[in-house]
């Protein structure tokens, strides 16, 4: 991990609230894996002060670029939207632990809410390269916010949508959908990001179906280097509760261990 000024090659609005940034990562000498993240400086001055964490959305190993998909939320992401192609953005990483994709898995389930899809899309890309079939449930406020569906389909994933707008995204509806999928498809592992409620649901269903599951967590960060202990979450290990760092021990954790 180190901090590198990377040239922005594209930074475009993709829906009302979401943007997509592509950077030239040819200076990066480290391997990047789905589930990992980078800390971006949003601008060149001290306001906003702290870096913001963003997951890897796409890794283009051949052309040596990285892509981020981001939700415009507050000062930092607003400033990020002002970055023009040709400008440099300071990128620190790669950080954190990646998803684990085991060779024997043939079909995996992805359950994403909102911008949580960013990190699962990177995983879908990896899965496609390994010949693993991905089945994705995407949940969003509106149809307009359903991101990356085409990207996922491009990777050969089967994609299902639920939205608040259409009243299809509440937990009980998603439960029925998930139970159907788990009955019909030969799903061997599940992955989730972006919603506490959906993660709780998946935690329960994965346990009853005996499927291993992983979650990518988000927490406010100070250093992202494991030194400040800002970004903690609780995990259960050997019957004991442990407070661990999302930036270091995570952001990907075995779902059954995480206290949601």
């Amino acid at each position: 991990m180190k901090s590198i000024p990377m040239k922005v090659t594209a930074n475009q609005q993709v829906s009302e609230r979401y943007w997509h940034m592509k950077v030239d990562a040819s200076e990066l000498d480290a391997e990047v894996s789905p589930g990992q993240f980078f800390q971006l400086r949003c601008g060149h001055d001290l306001n906003p002060l702290l870096r913001r964490p963003f997951s890897i959305y796409r890794i283009n190993r051949r052309e040596r670029t990285l892509e981020f998909l981001y939700l415009v939320k507050g000062a930092g992401t607003k400033r990020l939207t002002q970055m023009k192609a040709g400008e440099y953005v300071d990128v620190f990483g790669p950080l954190g632990t990646p998803f684990v994709l085991q060779d024997e898995w043939k079909t995996i389930l992805l359950l994403a809410r909102g911008v949580g899809i960013a990190t699962l899309a990177a995983l879908a890309q990896d899965a496609a390269e390994k010949g693993v079939q991905a089945v994705a449930i995407l949940s969003a406020r509106s149809r307009n916010d359903l991101l990356a569906a085409e990207t996922l389909q491009g990777f050969g994933a089967k994609v299902l949508y639920v939205t608040d707008e259409e009243g299809t995204s509440d937990v009980s509806a998603v439960r029925r959908l998930l139970e159907g999928l788990l009955r019909e498809d030969p799903i061997q592992a599940a992955f989730t990001c972006g919603s506490k409620r959906l993660s709780k649901l998946l935690q329960e269903l994965a346990a009853t179906h005996g499927i291993p599951a992983q979650i990518a967590l988000e927490e406010h960060m100070g250093c992202a280097m494991g030194v400040c202990f800002a970004c903690v979450c609780d995990v259960r290990e050997g019957g004991q509760l442990k407070t661990v760092r999302v930036c270091k021990e995570g952001p990907v954790f075995p779902l059954e261990k995480v206290v949601l």
Partner: protein
């Protein structure tokens, strides 16, 4: 003047630091080894240690405010046994002095922990965190009371001859009074200062933006307050001062040195730029070369406070 002719060495009591830039406790740790060479720092200062393991506070533990951040980590800690067995031995591989930051719940506990930690030969000095705003009710800390500060340092002084640095809290009416109390208690140096008690509210959810409601403000937003405090403390005591709060670059560090700091700690800046401490050191060297200053100590407290328009007609 060449860069290698510059003397950057400074002293805090009997402790000699190869250079005046070191990390601030809580914003530094072993994991940064991948990013910077610790041997180029003035000292290493791991996170404050408590006697017993502590879970720390509720999340969110940090939030950003204009040019600053508020934190309420609540000293998540593995306890003194882990510290003695793992943390202190870890820093053996570095040549720079190890300053151990101690946080305790009572004067007796401060003395007890100091005796144990100072007993380790690798520990060069103790920094007594008498200022953490997160430990006691509503952000109260030992360092808010002159008598408690004096008694605390006096007790710890009994158990070790190693240099004692009192990390003061800025959350007081008179920082000079507390600084004098620490000097009377027998401190060898003063850290000015810990974070400033602060609060931020999300107007949409109407909730505090920090899980623990109150937290400590750090970063560029606090620097002018800290510079003022360094200046005030330097006026009343002869103890060496470690400036701490909002240093982002070499200019900020030099400002603190001119106000009276002998050394400078860097916290939040390392989150923004992981190599900040080394960048700051380089900028200080550049400044020294620019003005032909051979010895960094000759700058300490050299702020010129005469009339601004002196010499003009």
């Amino acid at each position: 003047m060449m860069a290698d002719e510059l003397n950057l060495q400074v002293n805090i009591g009997s402790l000699t630091l190869p250079c005046p830039i070191m990390p601030a406790s809580g914003a530094f740790g072993e994991d940064m080894e991948a990013i910077i060479d610790f041997n180029r720092l003035g000292a290493v200062v791991p996170k404050s240690i408590t006697k017993h393991p502590r879970k720390g506070n509720a999340t969110p533990r940090v939030c950003e405010t204009p040019s600053g951040m508020i934190n309420s980590i609540g000293i998540q800690s593995k306890g003194i046994e882990y510290y003695m067995e793992h943390v202190i031995p870890y820093y053996r591989r570095y040549q720079v002095p190890l300053i151990s930051s101690i946080s305790a719940e009572s004067i007796e506990e401060f003395a007890e922990m100091s005796a144990i930690i100072a007993g380790a030969k690798e520990v060069a000095a103790l920094e007594l965190n008498i200022s953490c705003p997160n430990l006691k009710g509503n952000g109260a800390a030992f360092g808010m009371d002159a008598q408690a500060t004096r008694d605390l340092i006096r007790e710890v002084r009994q158990v070790t001859k190693k240099p004692l640095i009192a990390k003061l809290t800025p959350n007081v009416t008179s920082i000079q009074e507390i600084a004098l109390a620490a000097e009377e208690g027998g401190a060898d140096g003063l850290n000015v200062a810990n974070t400033i008690l602060a609060m931020a509210i999300d107007i949409h959810s109407r909730k505090p933006r920090i899980g623990n409601v109150l937290g400590g403000l750090s970063g560029p937003a606090v620097k002018p307050i800290i510079v003022r405090m360094i200046y005030q403390v330097h006026q009343v005591t002869s103890l060496p001062i470690i400036g701490c709060g909002g240093v982002m670059n070499g200019e900020d560090a030099l400002e603190m040195i001119l106000a009276g700091a002998t050394a400078v700690q860097v916290g939040t800046a390392s989150f923004v730029q992981p190599t900040a401490m080394l960048d700051i050191l380089e900028e200080i060297k550049q400044y020294m070369m620019q003005y032909g200053i051979a010895d960094i100590q000759s700058l300490v407290g050299q702020v010129v406070t005469g009339k601004h328009n002196e010499g003009e007609s």
